[in-house]
Symmetry: C2
Subunit: 226 residues, 2 copies
């Protein structure tokens, strides 16, 4: 303890890159900062790590406060520690990213925080190094989607293969051949075909699928070639 006391202490924050999927686009939850400096500028949702919690717990707490959701996918992105990254004080920030189903989140809570879902193709300028946090989080999402089938986190319980492909096209910002994508996904043996069809998009209708029991989090083989 004595030996530690010669060293400085720092504020430690977590900032969350909260990602969802809606209208064939990946969206990011942002809010206009409510205090100076940079009041009114767009910011990720964040907060400070308290004495009795780990950073993981702090991130989960912030996620629950702002979206009402618990036990959702949440992972570290990187730490950001430039001494002057926040002009007001020395704050070391640990960036996290979360994948949530927009259809499940608590709209009231989001409104209370003054937060908005913004398409990642139309992002405004963000404060501090939050742009970098987002970019690193997107790379992490692409890596995750390349190895595990992340329909479960971003899509509703039931989804069609077309919806899954559109999701992957949004994540990777490129198109996939419909036939080949379908075959690849089915060959992974993690999807269960349901009896119902989604008839909202075509006359013929597309069968719904869902992730098989037990395959929720299990990683599978490589899906998308870099």
């Amino acid at each position: 303890m004595e030996l530690y006391k010669i060293h400085p202490q720092h504020y430690v924050a977590v900032d969350c890159v909260i990602l969802g999927y809606q209208d064939e686009e990946i969206k990011l939850l942002l809010y206009p900062r409510s205090f100076e400096p940079y009041k009114g500028k767009w910011s990720l949702l964040g907060g400070f790590v308290q004495d009795n919690e780990s950073a993981d717990e702090a991130a989960a707490r912030i996620l629950k406060q702002t979206t009402g959701l618990e036990q959702i996918f949440l992972e570290q992105v990187a730490s950001f520690s430039e001494p002057d990254r926040d002009p007001e004080a020395r704050v070391i920030s640990l960036a996290y990213y979360a994948l949530i189903r927009i259809d499940l989140h608590d709209e009231e809570k989001v409104k209370d925080n003054g937060a908005y879902w913004v398409s990642i193709s139309k992002l405004p300028n963000l404060i501090f190094d939050h742009q970098q946090m987002f970019e690193k989080a997107l790379v992490k999402l692409q890596q995750k989607a390349g190895y595990s089938l992340c329909g479960h986190e971003l899509l509703p319980e039931r989804f069609t293969l077309i919806q899954l492909r559109k999701l992957y096209e949004a994540i990777f910002r490129r198109e996939f051949d419909p036939g080949n994508f379908r075959k690849k996904m089915l060959s992974l043996d993690v999807l269960e075909k349901l009896k119902e069809k989604d008839v909202s998009e075509s006359r013929k209708g597309a069968f719904y699928y869902r992730v098989k029991e037990g395959w929720d989090e299990k990683d599978s083989e490589r899906i998308v070639k870099l």
Copy 2:
């Protein structure tokens, strides 16, 4: 500033997983902790983040103090922030991993720190969560080696394809077919064949290669299938 003051501050440390390659084994630099608690127990090399430096800079500082090396490969692994991870005080630690050429490091400095190179197949118990830090760092190294040719960081300037294969076998803890490995590496078009041979291992001798100019850090395609 006022708004920040209601939040606690914490000690922030960096711990470095310093990896090298020698005698066909990956080695980790460890030292016996010199103060209580856990005095004498094996620990990664670490230190506290000061007011005027980023965590990256702190890690580079510690690396220079302990090995004498500068401008070497150094990357974040993860943050560790369980409130009681250090029984003495709340310390949030940012883990880094470094790849160094053992043939270049300053043996005096290492001795002064009481540090030793330990083969990763014979690691002792480490304090706190340092074992986890090492394991995550090893995964990161495997990912890096799978995408970029990391001979440059761990091997001498010149190396034979056999030496490179032995390095990859140490990193991935499995064997590679000599013929296929050679063909794969050469097909990447990042190696330059030199005129000299290494004659220490065989009568015939094996040609030395080196990484082509400009390919130092550039990532290439996938090398090792998971």
